[in-house]
């Protein structure tokens, strides 16, 4: 066992774990971080987008040496049917700022960098070390962990569970229920390599500008899910995912969906000539607010994906992860300074602080979305088709007068969904959105 005792043990070296460990180590706390993968990032998969605002609050000058791909200047949101898309694009030179707001990153490199910062701040990281269970004292307080290495116990005042979407440690220790298949999505992604000149020409970019495409529609074969395409410096990340329970009972597979997506007539040209060099799969929390487990207890807190902190609507996850990690780290440090024990009562401060941030506010705001999406499958099939048809009708100049075109579009919607149906869907959406 490790003789030394720590102020905190952080389980996991992903964005939330790194944020927590860094924050505490920087304040002089004795932190031990345990990662089951061979190196930080080896078990992580993400699109990936880095949200500068969240990272700035942890490492203000991260831009000096963090491995960043392109800064995002254009966002495209597409609804797709089988052969077309209707998109809303926003591009602005405002995003070409001194300190850009979002970047595309490659997780393998980024996580390595972040982890190096954590270690430079003074935390100790052990890789290839899996936490098997939490250790408790006779009062049920968490006092440490047991790992899979020989003589693998180590003790600390507080354990930060940054263990990711599966949350196995929390589950085994009875801190949370088993993650249900309708509150996670299974996503797959590939990295396609293209020379930067081709990327820049194809996406109308200069220098390190980047584009983000988020898409939904018939591409998920009627299941609840989304797809994405991000530009990196010399590669394109493309991926798609759906709620796991939606896959059950169909013979759809995530990889099958990805192949179909890549062959979509609007996507194929974007990937032309590229070489696929990497393939990865991962689970994404999609349960929303109601799936958030207990976030703290006597001697423990939960951060990141393990807390289901993902904004399904805006596809934000890593910034929530970093923010929850940071706030947990700040709370633990604050308690330590006041010499207050990390009891459940005292750690409730963590939740209080979280409630005041965008993290909880956004999770609460969209808490009805998972239910809405489950119950309104038209969103992934019928509506994208109707919208695409409507767009074609609208933009095709064929001698029909415009009023008739409008009428035809309205009629097509009513016919497909009936007026009550349309109104009902709209109503549900508004309620879920607010």
């Amino acid at each position: 066992m490790i003789e030394d005792r720590f102020d905190a043990i952080v389980v996991g070296a992903g964005p939330s774990g790194n944020a927590a460990a860094y924050t505490m180590a920087k304040e002089g706390l004795k932190v031990l971080q345990l990662e089951r993968g061979e190196y930080p990032g080896s078990k992580n998969v993400q699109g990936a987008i880095l949200y500068a605002n969240a990272l700035e609050k942890i490492i203000p000058d991260f831009r000096d040496d963090a491995p960043l791909e392109r800064h995002v200047i254009e966002q495209r949101i597409w609804t797709m049917d089988d052969s077309s898309y209707v998109g809303m694009h926003y591009r602005s030179n405002d995003f070409n700022e001194e300190q850009p707001n979002r970047y595309t990153i490659i997780r393998a490199q980024f996580d390595k960098w972040f982890s190096r910062k954590v270690r430079e701040a003074g935390a100790i990281l052990l890789c290839e070390t899996t936490v098997k269970e939490l250790l408790r004292d006779s009062h049920g307080r968490v006092i440490g962990v047991r790992t899979d290495r020989a003589d693998g116990t180590v003790f600390a005042d507080v354990v930060v569970l940054a263990e990711g979407v599966n949350g196995l440690v929390g589950e085994r220790s009875g801190l949370r229920p088993v993650v249900s298949s309708d509150s996670v999505a299974l996503a797959v992604k590939e990295m396609h390599f293209l020379p930067r000149e081709v990327i820049e020409a194809r996406f109308n970019l200069q220098g390190n500008e980047g584009v983000v495409i988020e898409a939904m529609g018939t591409i998920t074969a009627g299941m609840t899910g989304t797809a994405f395409l991000y530009t990196n410096q010399e590669s394109i990340s493309v991926g798609i995912g759906c709620i796991v329970s939606d896959f059950e009972g169909t013979d759809q597979t995530p990889y099958g969906l990805l192949e179909a997506f890549k062959s979509h007539p609007t996507i194929k040209p974007l990937l032309e000539g590229s070489e696929c060099k990497e393939y990865a799969a991962h689970l994404i929390p999609e349960g929303g607010y109601s799936a958030i487990p207990e976030l703290y207890g006597d001697g423990w807190v939960v951060v990141g994906d393990a807390g289901q902190f993902v904004n399904a609507v805006h596809r934000e996850g890593s910034n929530l992860a970093m923010t929850t990690g940071r706030i947990a780290g700040e709370t633990i440090t604050w308690l330590k300074r006041r010499r207050d024990a990390p009891t459940k009562a005292n750690l409730s401060e963590y939740k209080r602080r979280l409630d005041a941030t965008f993290v909880m506010k956004d999770m609460k705001k969209y808490r009805k979305i998972p239910q809405f999406l489950h119950g309104t499958k038209q969103v992934f099939g019928l509506y994208p088709q109707l919208i695409s048809q409507a767009a074609q009708t609208w933009f095709r100049v064929d001698g029909t007068d415009k009023r008739s075109k409008e009428k035809e579009i309205l009629r097509s919607f009513r016919k497909a969904r009936t007026l009550p149906g349309l109104v009902g869907d709209a109503f549900k959406l508004v309620r879920a959105w607010r």
Binding site: I2, I124, L126, E128, T147, A150, G152, K277
Partner: protein, 283 residues
């Protein structure tokens, strides 16, 4: 007892791909690993230390990032790690490598005690030459034992060692006097998982880092490209064979395809059919 294991960090060659158009190596994101053959040597060294007592030092000549591999070796349980790193080593062939390593080993002897055994792996997966071990042995005047499958007896006090060595056609039982250089055969053991305490110690341990000067290497003309009698004249992909492959058309059933394949084989090698008949007749 002091045992030194020479270890190399190599690209995971299983993951290296060649760009189909430019014919260049795609090194991008190819992870580096400890040369797998070295792990058998390291495990053997750790076992001997556990049995007899003493220390295991791991030595690597490489770029600064080779530190990761050394730290991993510490995690497995090595007591000390030394990184020999210097720009002047770039481009070293096996002669230049064995020179630098042997001077560093002499320095290790000075600072940490003369080793009774120096281990290397059988070969590296990126060079495949198996030359550095013998090179070190020759330069340091050590008795050399290659392809060792098992250490049968070791008596540090008496200065003797007996090993089983895989030779052509059989196993030799060899004895010689310490100090020795041993290259370990693959598959003879399995590297242990370090305990939590080892992993923790490894995370905090300082890795002794030596430049050429620190290690006492004064003659830089013997290092790097300058010190390498062999040079790589060119790197290339094998030329396409003039005769293209003849594809056997795939039929409806595997049975029909197999029939077609067999006929094609006999058509190209009629003598073979006769030989197979004779073989089958004799069965």
């Amino acid at each position: 007892m002091h045992i030194v294991v020479c270890m190399k960090q190599v690209p995971d060659s299983a993951q290296i791909r060649v760009h189909p158009v430019t014919n260049t190596i795609m090194r991008q994101g190819v992870p580096t690993i400890i040369n797998p053959y070295d792990l058998f040597a390291l495990e053997e060294a750790l076992r001997l230390r556990d049995q007899i007592g003493g220390e295991v030092t791991v030595l690597t000549m490489g770029p600064p990032m080779a530190e990761d591999s050394l730290r991993k070796a510490l995690t497995f349980g090595a007591d000390r790690a030394v990184l020999l790193t210097d720009r002047s080593f770039a481009g070293s062939d096996t002669l230049a490598t064995s020179y630098a390593l042997s001077v560093a080993l002499a320095k290790i002897s000075q600072e940490f005690g003369a080793p009774e055994i120096i281990f290397t792996g059988k070969q590296t997966i990126d060079g495949d030459t198996a030359q550095v071990g013998p090179g070190i042995a020759k330069r340091l005047g050590l008795n050399q034992l290659t392809y060792v499958a098992k250490i049968a007896e070791l008596d540090p006090a008496a200065g003797s060692i007996t090993v089983e060595r895989r030779a052509e056609g059989g196993i030799q039982l060899l004895s010689t006097r310490l100090p020795v250089l041993i290259t370990m055969l693959e598959g003879v053991n399995e590297i242990r998982r370090g305990s939590l305490a080892s992993a923790y110690r490894a995370a905090g341990e300082a890795i002794v880092t030596w430049s050429a000067a620190d290690a006492g290497i004064t003659d830089l003309s013997k290092c790097g490209l300058r010190g390498s009698p062999t040079i790589v004249k060119k790197v290339f992909a094998p030329s396409q064979r003039a005769e293209k492959v003849q594809m056997v058309p795939v039929e409806q059933s595997p049975a029909a395809t197999a029939q077609a394949a067999m006929n094609a084989i006999f058509a190209r090698q009629p003598a073979l059919e006769g030989e197979l008949m004779r073989y089958s007749a004799g069965c």
